[in-house]
Each structure stands twice: as structure tokens, then as C-alpha cells.
């Protein structure tokens, strides 16, 4: 989804270069120019904002390279840290604004875990709270103009989703032993149907991390790409650019909503999976 995808974005020249660039080694340049040449339809290409670039120098990207993704994930963690430390420092009876935000978030997530996953899932409350705060902070930081949206990359969300998937699977087997396999054996269904349902349940279980990660990345990426498409229209139109600017404002408002709702959905699905692991019987 990163450089290789960007390089093939547009036009025949990208297709022609594909053979050469597909074997891209260290010198396959990343960045907008490498992606679609000097010429191009829109001045602002909608997918340019997702290019991963190293912060220092222009070398190849390895797993230890500090890129803009690293920077913005760190900023998200710092943001969560500052919010929660400031929020829990005063402990006033009449809360300050930061304390209200921290307390409301805490209560919101705690109630969600308790309602959806059950009382015995509260042991996992710190993990779920961390997930929610990180995703919501990364989403909101990504809404700042010219910033980078880390959650728009499937590489980032896939790690989060795989962590949830592995946690849930391990917890399910530790808590229930082989009884966890009862999740796939629908005992309320007629006996001849059960093997077929078991196969379907098994497939749907393993598709979980895929849909879990792509839902977050897809929604965030699509919204940001839409904003940049309208921005490209504004660049072409000149004086008539007021219409795309109004449209960008409206889409941006929607994106603020999506940033919160997608973090909420990711968290609540984690709770649903956790409930399945703790109480696997159908």
C-alpha cells in the first residue's frame, strides 16, 4: 500500500515503469514525483498524503527507519499521555475541562466493556481503553491539515487487529480450554446443519482481523482521499473554487464524526470478540 502502490498510481508511464520499479531496491525513490511524474491531471493528488517518507535523509525504508508514521504515532501516544496525566492530576471535586474529558472517556469505555463483554471482562479494561485512546487520538491528529494519518495505513491497523485477534484466541483457550471450540459448534441448530455451520463460523472467525483492520483503515483513508479530491478541484477551478471549499468543510465535519465513530466501532468489536472468548457457548 505504500511506495509500490503509489508508483503504479497513474497513467501508462507508471505501467511501463512498473517492470523496472517492481524490482525496486534501495534507490526506488519515494515521494510524489516518483509516483506520477511531473505532469498529471490534478495539482493535488489524493493519495499523496499517505506516502511514507523517512524523516531524516532520503535512504531506503527499513523496519527501524524513523518515518513520518513513527513521528505521528509517537505524537498520538504523547497526546494520550498528556490528556490523561493532566486529567488525573487535579482530582478536583468540580472537574476542570481536561479532567472532565478524562473522566468521561474512562466512564464511557468502562461502561462499554461491562455492558458488551460482561463483568469478568473488566480485567481487560486497561487494554481496551489503551486501544480506544490511541486510535481516537491518531484519528484526530490526522485531521489536522498537513499532518499524517497513521490509522489510514493497513499496516498500522493490521497490527492492532492482529493483537486483538491473538489476545482473544489465547484468552479463549486459556479460560475455556477445548470448550472454546464450542464457539464453532452451534448447538441450537439441527444436527445435520452443524458441520456446515461450523465451517462458516470458522471462516468468519478468521476473517475477523481482516475486516477489523480494513474497516478502520478504509474509512479513514477514503475520507481523507475525498477531501484531497475536492482540494484538487479547487486548484483547477480558480475563482469558482468556493464550491469545493464549502464541500471540503462539509466533508471535514463528517470526518470528525467518522474519526470518533470508527474508534468506537473498533473498540466495541474488540469487546464483542472478548465476550465470545469468555463465554463461547452459543
Amino acid at each position: 500500500m505504500s511506495e509500490d502502490a503509489q508508483e503504479q498510481t497513474h497513467g501508462e508511464e507508471a505501467v511501463a515503469e512498473h517492470g523496472a520499479e517492481a524490482a525496486h531496491g534501495a534507490d526506488a525513490a519515494h515521494g510524489a514525483d516518483a509516483a506520477h511524474g511531473a505532469e498529471g491531471g490534478l495539482q493535488i493528488h489524493p493519495m499523496d498524503q499517505f506516502i511514507v517518507e523517512p524523516l531524516f535523509g532520503d535512504g531506503p525504508i527499513s523496519f527501524y527507519t524513523i518515518t513520518n508514521v513513527t513521528l505521528w504515532m509517537m505524537l498520538a501516544i504523547v497526546g494520550v499521555f498528556v490528556l490523561m496525566v493532566l486529567g488525573s492530576r487535579g482530582r478536583a471535586i468540580v472537574p476542570s475541562r481536561a479532567q472532565s474529558v478524562a473522566e468521561l472517556t474512562y466512564g464511557f469505555i468502562r461502561k462499554m466493556v461491562e455492558d458488551v463483554a460482561g463483568k469478568d471482562a473488566l480485567a481487560f479494561f486497561p487494554y481496551i481503553m489503551t486501544l480506544f485512546l490511541f486510535i481516537v487520538m491518531a484519528n484526530f491528529l490526522g485531521l489536522i491539515p498537513t499532518s499524517f494519518t497513521t490509522t489510514s495505513h493497513i499496516a498500522v491497523t493490521a497490527v492492532l487487529a492482529m493483537a486483538v485477534f491473538l489476545t482473544v484466541t489465547v484468552v479463549g483457550f486459556v479460560k475455556n480450554g477445548a470448550g472454546f471450540l464450542g464457539l464453532f459448534w452451534v448447538s441450537s441448530a439441527p444436527l445435520p446443519l452443524r458441520p456446515i455451520l461450523a465451517i462458516i463460523e470458522l471462516i468468519s472467525y478468521f476473517v475477523r482481523p481482516v475486516s477489523h483492520s480494513i474497516r478502520l483503515a478504509g474509512n479513514v483513508m477514503a475520507g481523507h482521499a475525498v477531501i484531497k479530491v475536492f482540494a484538487g478541484f479547487a486548484g483547477v477551478l480558480g475563482v469558482g473554487a468556493i464550491a469545493p471549499v464549502v464541500a471540503i468543510t462539509a466533508v471535514y465535519g463528517l470526518e470528525v464524526l467518522v474519526a470518533f465513530i470508527q474508534a468506537y466501532v473498533f473498540t466495541i468489536l474488540t469487546c464483542v470478540y472478548l465476550r465470545d472468548a469468555l463465554h463461547p457457548s452459543h
Binding site: 502502490a5 503504479q8 498510481t9 505501467v15 462499554m112 480494513i214 474497516r215 478504509g218 465513530i261 466501532v265
Partner: protein
């Protein structure tokens, strides 16, 4: 005209997004019609609403994924 069959396929895959929109609208509309009949029970079911929307949306996102793969990976 530029582009090739993969681009046509990506456009066809985008139809799946419209189908997911129908599904999400169905979930939200039915929730609303139920909530208006019994507003006192509605507040407790918003979590179910979002789970339902998320599951309906997941299949549209698979269509989106197919479109992305056709555009960038094929």
C-alpha cells in the same frame, strides 16, 4: 482514454460500496422505526446498532479492498 481492464474492474467493485450503503441504511432505518415505537428502549440498543452497522459495512469494505487491489496491486 487511458486505463485498462483492471480499472473497469475497480469501477465495478465500487458497486459493492453502494450495496453496503443499502445494508447500512436498512439497519439504521429499522433501528429508527423501532426506536420511535419504543423510545425508552432505544438508548440501551445503540451499541447493537453500531455493531450491526459495522457488520453490514464490512462487506462493502471488502468490495473497496478489491477495488484497491485492482487499482494498485494488479
Amino acid at each position: 482514454m487511458e486505463g485498462d481492464l483492471a480499472h473497469i474492474g475497480a469501477g465495478l467493485a465500487a458497486i459493492g460500496s453502494g450495496a453496503a450503503a443499502i445494508g447500512v441504511g436498512h439497519v439504521a432505518g429499522n433501528f429508527l422505526s423501532g426506536a420511535l415505537r419504543n423510545p425508552s428502549a432505544a438508548a440501551g440498543q445503540t451499541a447493537t446498532l453500531f455493531i450491526g452497522i459495522a457488520f453490514a459495512e464490512a462487506l462493502g469494505i471488502f468490495a473497496f479492498l478489491v477495488a484497491l487491489l485492482l487499482m494498485f496491486a494488479v
